[in-house]
């Protein structure tokens, strides 16, 4: 007979929660996922009701299955249960759809009843990002818990609400923070949460209105144009609208941060959480309330496995940036406490609070923090991190280990000033560079600059966002938590450990946390050199996969480093006497800058304007000269790798399509490379050109239409198509296809391509090719006309 354990005076946590219906909001989050897993694994008798925002694909059930159950958090349970895992989940977990950002929790009647009838509701939904726009933070962090409480109050005997808050509701202040209602703490702010909600809503409206003033709209349009160039109206419009949205968001983020700072909180997150506590305490009605305030939640110490973490959280980006050598300095007080708590301790504490039952009188407060029992000093943490990355460096794209910097813990102001200055200088240089007509590898300099600026900006935002946490001098008291701990049985203490004094910081940082986040960040941990070349190799083989079936090419600077002016000059001078040749060349050179400017503004207008010069030109002679032009000028300016690529597509059975603003008779010699050519064509009258185009030239957004029409006509899927082009005026075409390739991109397109991870090609003229300095046709001896020819 097995030994029966002695019955302790109080029931254990699993016993207390057995038979209970436990609803969890924020189940797809870090704490929520761990909580659901813990309930399933360690509290066998309970039923779990995750309140999940339905995803775009499928409802709450589907999203829960996809975003929660599939997480590696459940690996341990899956191993334990084997084949029974799915049945167990289906039997005990009943997700309902609900959105705390919508009034009434966005619940249907059935779900509302489920929530109202729950014995325990753990509210862990929050927007953890510290730089959320004010109104969004208010909506989720402040109003969210209130809505949950109201939904619960709708039931006949409301269950126990355990709300997860944050220890930093105490604000930026020196000294100890007690486990008590904010009203009862000595340094409570007087801010009225209702007024804050109203003003946040108003601010959203005001900012939206502000962003729609003509002056602002004009600014967004100009910003879009300077980023994308002549990309065509639809793309520029979409970009400008996005620009406006971003501006509004930034304004609201800034507003949130400023308001929080002014009232004494480090950021909008802590501020809205604090307001939420107040609102809950004031508005909970009959709902029994416990508030759990964790400090900085990091990877699991032991449960479900050491190092488990979900999402990239607060300290991780900072640590990884540091390991990459990008944070040369970071503010902080070396002797200050950085209050970290592993996620499994937070979960255990929440369950213990839930098991302890509703508080007898008034709301309960528990702080889950390590600072007062087992402090981790900031200086110690930095030493541990530095030591670990010195032993286990990550590697740069050249396969070299990165040496982590030594921090001298300067003041926040100084670091911030330095970074702000660096950002400004980089931005200015970048803008100057993007105005230059460079392309290909030279344009990559701009890319490097942009990367540097991005790094500086990110560093700046880390300092702004997290600097105050490294300078925090608050010590969070945990007496209440400790007394809860002392009521637990031995079994509970083993299974549901939330005693921060058991953490060995050195072991936790070096053996649990850092290895886990290095894996999560997918950084290079071995000195391989593949990176970049491997990536470009992957891009190339994706473009040349047999499933691709259509490849569209731009001509100028994509396949040939020539343009319509070159061709015109060559053809026009072909039959001119010396003096006239020189005059024509000189005239074109004088005109060049204005032509270039027109071309940059609108390619269609430029072609229309320029092609008028062909008025009266004899068609048959141009046709003949075009072959000579091809052999003497275009071939010397062609990119052999580009032409090889066209043929490679053909070999693979892909259709090839040329879309160009060049004239039909000029491109005649390269026609055999393509299945179809869409180009400019001039009208003819009496054997002479009229100088007017017979159709709208394929430029800008028209190119996207051309390729879409072609695909539709041949029953091809644009998602499988490839497009090659060199400038932002081709963006519509590049965006229309599944596999865009930027060839020798000019600065703006290079930036776009880099951001979107498009495949890049650098194609050069044949090494040794000697194109003429001036695009002039060779002089003809003897005046005799045709070349000795093979039949053409």
């Amino acid at each position: 007979m097995p030994e029966v354990p002695a019955i302790s005076e109080a029931p254990t946590i699993p016993e207390s929660l057995s038979g209970k219906r436990i609803a969890v909001t924020g189940a797809t989050g870090f704490v929520g996922t761990a909580l659901v897993e813990r309930l399933l694994r360690s509290v066998p008798g309970c039923e779990v009701i995750p309140v999940v925002r339905p995803g775009r694909r499928g409802g709450a059930e589907a999203r829960f299955a996809r975003d929660v159950v599939r997480n590696d958090c459940f690996d341990r349970l899956r191993d334990q249960l084997g084949d029974r895992f799915d049945d167990e989940v289906a039997r005990r977990v009943h997700p309902v759809a609900g959105d705390v950002t919508v009034d009434g929790v966005g619940l249907d009647q059935q779900a509302r009843e489920a929530l109202a009838s729950a014995d325990v509701v753990v509210h862990s939904a929050a927007t953890v990002s510290f730089d959320a726009p004010l109104d969004a933070a208010v909506e989720v962090n402040l109003l969210g818990p209130l809505r949950v409480a109201r939904a619960m109050a709708g039931g006949s005997s409301p269950g126990h609400l355990v709300a997860v808050s944050t220890a930093y509701v105490a604000g930026s202040r020196r000294g100890t923070a007690p486990e008590a209602s904010l009203e009862d703490t000595p340094f409570a702010s007087e801010a009225d949460w209702r007024a804050e909600v109203a003003s946040a809503h108003r601010l959203r409206g005001d900012t939206e209105a502000e962003s729609r003033r003509p002056k602002m709209l004009d600014r967004f349009r100009r910003e879009a144009a300077s980023e994308l160039g002549a990309a065509g109206t639809p793309l520029l419009a979409a970009r400008a609208e996005r620009q406006r949205g971003e501006w509004v968001r930034n304004e609201l983020v800034e507003a949130g941060r400023a308001r929080a700072r002014m009232l004494g909180w480090p950021d909008a997150y802590a501020f809205t959480k604090a307001m939420a506590e107040r609102a809950l305490v004031a508005e909970r009605g009959e709902v029994p309330l416990s508030i759990v305030r964790p400090s900085i939640i990091e990877s699991a110490l032991a449960e479900p496995k050491p190092g488990w973490i979900r999402g990239f959280r607060m300290a991780e980006p900072v640590i990884i940036s540091y390991a990459r050598g990008l944070l040369r300095e970071f503010p902080g007080l070396p002797e200050g406490i950085i209050d970290v708590i592993p996620v499994d301790m937070v979960v255990a504490a929440v369950l213990a609070v839930a098991a302890a039952g509703p508080p007898a009188d008034g709301p309960d407060f528990y702080q889950v923090a390590s600072g007062s029992r087992n402090p981790l000093r900031y200086g110690q943490l930095v030493d541990l991190v530095q030591g670990w990355f010195t032993e286990h460096p990550i590697y740069d794209s050249h396969g070299q280990p990165i040496v982590v910097p030594e921090w001298s813990f300067p003041g926040r102001g100084r670091v911030q000033r330095q970074l702000t200055r660096a950002t400004k200088v980089l931005k200015g240089t970048e803008r100057a560079l993007s105005a230059l007509p460079v392309r290909g590898r030279r344009a990559e300099v701009a890319g490097k600059l942009e990367e540097r600026r991005g790094q500086a900006e990110r560093a700046l935002s880390y300092v702004e966002l997290y600097g105050s946490y490294a300078e925090c001098e608050t010590v969070f008291q945990v007496q209440h938590l400790t007394s809860l701990w002392e009521t637990l049985s031995e079994d509970d203490r083993r299974l549901f450990c939330f005693d921060p004094s058991v953490i060995d910081w050195s072991r936790y940082v070096r053996e649990v946390h850092l290895p886990s986040i290095v894996t999560h960040a997918r950084v290079r941990t071995a000195p391989s050199r593949k990176g970049r070349s491997q990536r470009s190799e992957r891009g190339r083989s994706a473009v040349l996969a047999p499933e691709r079936h259509l490849a569209a090419f731009d001509l100028e600077n994509t396949l040939i480093s020539s343009n319509v002016v070159d061709s015109y000059a060559w053809l026009a001078t072909r039959h001119l006497p010396d003096l006239a040749r020189a005059k024509l060349a000189a005239r074109l050179m004088v005109e060049a800058p204005s032509l270039l400017a027109l071309d940059r503004r609108d390619r269609g207008d430029f072609l229309r304007f320029f092609y008028r010069r062909y008025e009266g030109a004899p068609v048959s002679r141009l046709r003949e000269d075009a072959w000579e032009l091809f052999n003497t000028l275009l071939m010397t300016k062609a990119f052999p790798s580009g032409l090889a690529r066209v043929r490679e597509h053909r070999r693979l059975g892909h259709r090839t399509l040329l879309i160009t603003g060049a004239l039909d008779l000029v491109i005649e010699p390269i026609r055999p490379l393509f299945d179809e050519v869409v180009c400019a064509k001039l009208g003819e009258r009496n054997g002479r050109l009229t100088g007017e185009m017979v159709a709208v030239p394929p430029t800008g957004e028209a190119r996207a239409l051309v390729i879409a029409e072609y695909a539709a006509r041949h029953g091809l899927d644009l998602g499988q198509a490839v497009a090659y082009a060199d400038s932002t005026s081709d963006l519509p075409m590049l965006e229309a296809v599944g596999y865009p390739v930027a060839v020798n991109p000019e600065t703006k397109l290079a930036a776009v391509a880099r951001k979107r991870g498009w495949h890049l090609e650098h194609w050069n003229r044949a090494p040794g090719a000697r194109p003429t300095l001036l695009p002039m046709g060779p002089r003809i001896r003897g005046g005799a006309r045709p070349m000795a020819g093979r039949g053409r």
């Binding site: 052999p640 040794g768 090719a769 005799a784 093979r790 039949g791 053409r792």
Partner: protein
């Protein structure tokens, strides 16, 4: 001997043994020169001095046309009114460097056209016998034929260039007893008379090869332009021991038996390759006079200092003062036997025994980069194809020996003339430098690539398969040698070719010692002007 068949030789070639008093030896180095002090005991093979030219070339040509060799009537007797006459001529790959006007071909064709006019022949078509070479430009055609012929024939479309991909204008004449297809230019093969005008610069040229190669299609050429043939042509400069020539001769006889009437006109030149301004190039170093030294220094300094592009243009503009030393006409084989006698007589140098190391200086110019760029593949072909094979009997270097070539070997290509070379260099040589392997794996895809065919037919591009042929030309050398070293070449390009790179001749000799030991024998091939080493 009549006035038409001269070829009197000047001072014969010479093998000099280097001693302490020997001045440094001049090496060609692309567009420039290097002076190298060869180890004492090395041997330098100098070409014979230019032969004495014919005093009246026009008369000699007339006389040859009226006094044909072999089983042939005089040209005048072969011409009649109403007949179809086709005159084929060698392209600009000959002679090297291009000769000062008037070109020999112009002189010969004018004489043939005079005869045709006299006989009242109206239907005359000229065809440049390109095989798979690039089309000539207008300027080049005018240079080869002269303005008078060009202006008379080009505007009416009667000046044509052979198109090996124009299947409507090719005719399949049959297969030889070895199964070799013979497919020729239809106009030429179906004419009542085909006159072929040749320049026999080296002993590889002429004979049945003129028509069987120059006017053939890829289908026909692949039977002898392949690795197997080239490895078994020892050398291809020695028709008697050349599988390349055996195949061409089989084809030539089939062409004759198929009823194609050929009147072959072959010419030889005197070996005066360079104009007086470059007199030092025609002389031996120890005989250089003050003027030679001065022009050498001037030329070298200028070429070294000029931007490569200008140096290249300066050298490419060089026109040789070649003059006619003999002209033979009539039946192909009889004519060619005589021609080969003259050529060998003018170029032969007897060399005793093989060396461990063969050194050579490579010029800026080979047959395939007239008015163009000598790309790395052509560098390999000039050294290991042409110069290595300039022997009768056995190679100048022993089996397993080393060739050291001097050339800057820039990573440069002419995109108009050599588009398929660029892809060959990037796609084929990166995978293999073995001629047989690339033949099996890559040749067909290049030969049938529609884009290359398009460029060959309408542009001025060599056929897609041509770089392969150039590489096959080196097959015998690659098979024979232990190592190839390039002095002063661009390292990446040299490595791509599969050769080793050295910055100085001393370094090259050091590297060679790995293969041939510490105390090797060395022969330097002092060419051009051209020579044929008769190695015994």
């Amino acid at each position: 001997m009549t006035a038409g068949r001269s070829g009197t030789v000047g001072r014969p070639g010479l093998v000099l043994e280097v001693d302490r008093s020997t001045p440094p030896t001049m090496f060609w180095h692309g567009d420039g020169f290097r002076m190298e002090r060869l180890p004492v005991g090395s041997r330098v093979v100098y070409p014979p001095e230019p032969a004495v030219p014919l005093s009246d070339p026009t008369a000699a040509i007339r006389e040859a046309l009226e006094n044909p060799l072999g089983d042939s009537k005089p040209l005048s007797a072969l011409l009649r009114a109403g007949m179809r006459l086709t005159i084929a001529f060698d392209d600009v790959s000959l002679p090297l460097p291009p000769m000062q006007a008037p070109d020999v071909r112009q002189q010969v064709i004018e004489a043939v056209l005079d005869e045709a006019a006299r006989a009242g022949v109206d239907d005359v078509v000229l065809v440049a016998a390109l095989a798979l070479h690039r089309r000539l430009t207008e300027a080049e055609l005018r240079h080869v034929l002269g303005d008078r012929i060009y202006d008379a024939f080009a505007p009416t479309g009667r000046l044509t260039q052979h198109d090996a991909e124009d299947h409507d204008n090719l005719i399949h004449l049959g297969q030889t007893d070895r199964g070799e297809d013979v497919e020729l230019n239809k106009r030429a093969a179906t004419s009542d008379l085909l006159v072929y005008v040749n320049i026999n610069l080296v002993s590889m040229d002429g004979g049945h090869k003129s028509v069987a190669t120059g006017l053939a299609s890829y289908r026909s050429l692949r039977h002898h332009h392949n690795t197997h043939t080239m490895v078994h042509s020892r050398s291809f400069m020695d028709p008697a021991s050349s599988e390349l020539h055996s195949s061409n001769w089989r084809m030539g006889r089939l062409i004759r038996d198929a009823g194609v009437k050929i009147f072959q006109i072959e010419t030889t030149l005197d070996g005066r390759s360079f104009p007086d301004a470059y007199g030092f190039l025609n002389r031996r170093e120890w005989e250089w006079k003050a003027r030679d030294r001065a022009t050498f220094l001037g030329a070298k300094t200028a070429l070294d200092r000029l931007p490569p592009r200008l140096a290249q243009t300066m050298m490419q503009r060089t026109r040789s003062p070649y003059r006619l030393t003999s002209v033979q006409a009539g039946e192909v084989e009889a004519v060619h036997d005589r021609t080969i006698d003259v050529v060998l007589n003018q170029q032969r140098v007897v060399v005793e025994g093989q060396a461990d190391i063969l050194t050579m200086g490579l010029t800026y110019l080979g047959p395939y980069n007239v008015n163009s760029i000598m790309n790395p593949v052509l560098v390999a072909c000039l050294g290991l194809g042409y110069f290595f094979n300039s022997y009768i009997g056995k190679p100048l270097v022993r089996q397993g020996g080393v060739v050291i070539m001097s050339h800057p070997t820039p990573w440069a290509f002419d995109p108009v003339h050599h588009p398929s070379y660029i892809d060959f260099f990037e796609r084929v040589l990166t995978e293999t430098t073995d001629p047989a392997e690339m033949e099996a794996k890559f040749e067909e895809s290049f030969a049938t690539d529609p884009w290359y065919i398009h460029l060959y037919r309408t542009g001025n591009a060599y056929h897609g398969v041509h770089p392969f042929y150039m590489w096959y030309w080196t097959a015998h050398a690659l098979d024979h040698l232990g190592a190839v070293i390039v002095v002063g070449g661009e390292r990446r390009a040299v490595r791509r070719l599969g050769f080793r790179s050295a910055s100085t001749m001393q370094d090259a000799l050091e590297i060679a010692s790995d293969v041939v030991g510490r105390d090797p024998t060395l022969t330097h091939l002092h060419t051009p002007p051209l020579l044929m080493a008769d190695v015994r």
